[in-house]
Symmetry: D2
Subunit: 92 residues, 4 copies
């Protein structure tokens, strides 16, 4: 995944944390912890998946489309910066 070579360690850590959260849900189902707690665990997983998605999309824009901090075309750089802003807002 070329756009994440630089950030690979960070993303991998994030994915492993998510896997750990899924394992916590699995254990919670097995040990029959109260339903409300499981719902909260899964809501956290959902937030974490959205956060990961947002980070992947931002990386993708920077590495494979236009990096607003590096592109020589000022209009395109601004367009990419606005796009990243909206991705962050949308997926927060």
């Amino acid at each position: 995944m070329s756009h994440t070579i630089a950030e690979k360690a960070k993303l991998t850590a994030r994915v492993r944390r998510l896997k750990g959260q899924m394992e916590a849900v699995e254990r919670a189902l097995e040990t029959e912890v109260p339903c409300g707690e499981i719902l909260n665990l899964v809501a956290s997983v959902r937030g974490a998946v959205n956060g990961l998605m947002g980070e992947l999309i931002e990386d993708h824009i920077r590495m494979h489309v236009v990096d607003p901090d590096k592109d020589g075309d000022a209009d395109r750089a601004q367009g990419a910066a606005e796009l990243i802003d909206v991705v962050r807002t949308y997926l927060k």
Copy 2:
């Protein structure tokens, strides 16, 4: 998790499938598959988490609040049925 005793096997299978999907994302990051594929994998994870959340909420309503198929109070049963409909639409 009392509301899922009946459905426990089904939910556990679903959570394990999700964990498998997370492992696929982890491998994809490690083997540097193309970025677009990883984005698609994570989008699928997100869909699966939403589906799990919807099923857990529906189970919770049926087991801990009001089961529309069993409640003797017709108005309350209808209210619960409408609520389940909206959860299904909202989290699809």
Copy 3:
């Protein structure tokens, strides 16, 4: 809409505010304001729609299913309170 007689004024005000936000988007399109601003306006609309949806679902639970503050059955009241919590978290 029976579950909102009490809250009708509050909900109507909220819906009107949303309509006003849609009109702002319409004007922004017509006067060709910068794209980034329109994206932000529509992101705000989306947040407001989610907030309205969350409030309607919570009202529906309280009025048509189980009101956790009034139900005599302690387990069911707790189940409804947990459900409202998850709706609030999920739609925030």
Copy 4:
């Protein structure tokens, strides 16, 4: 809004339809139609807002960042095409 000069009529029509949907919600609240119907109306509004958001983001990418159908840089064009795919999947 420069990125929508071409598509302005289409987007404006979409926003007006949304405003009409909000007015339907307002009337539904005023005439006290059943709660379940109002929930469905607002769920439709939410879907329409997501659709509008997706279209605006796609237009923004094409007009202000990289148009995959026109860009001379093949890698960047592919990156933008993948990004548009993920936006469509994500906001459907």
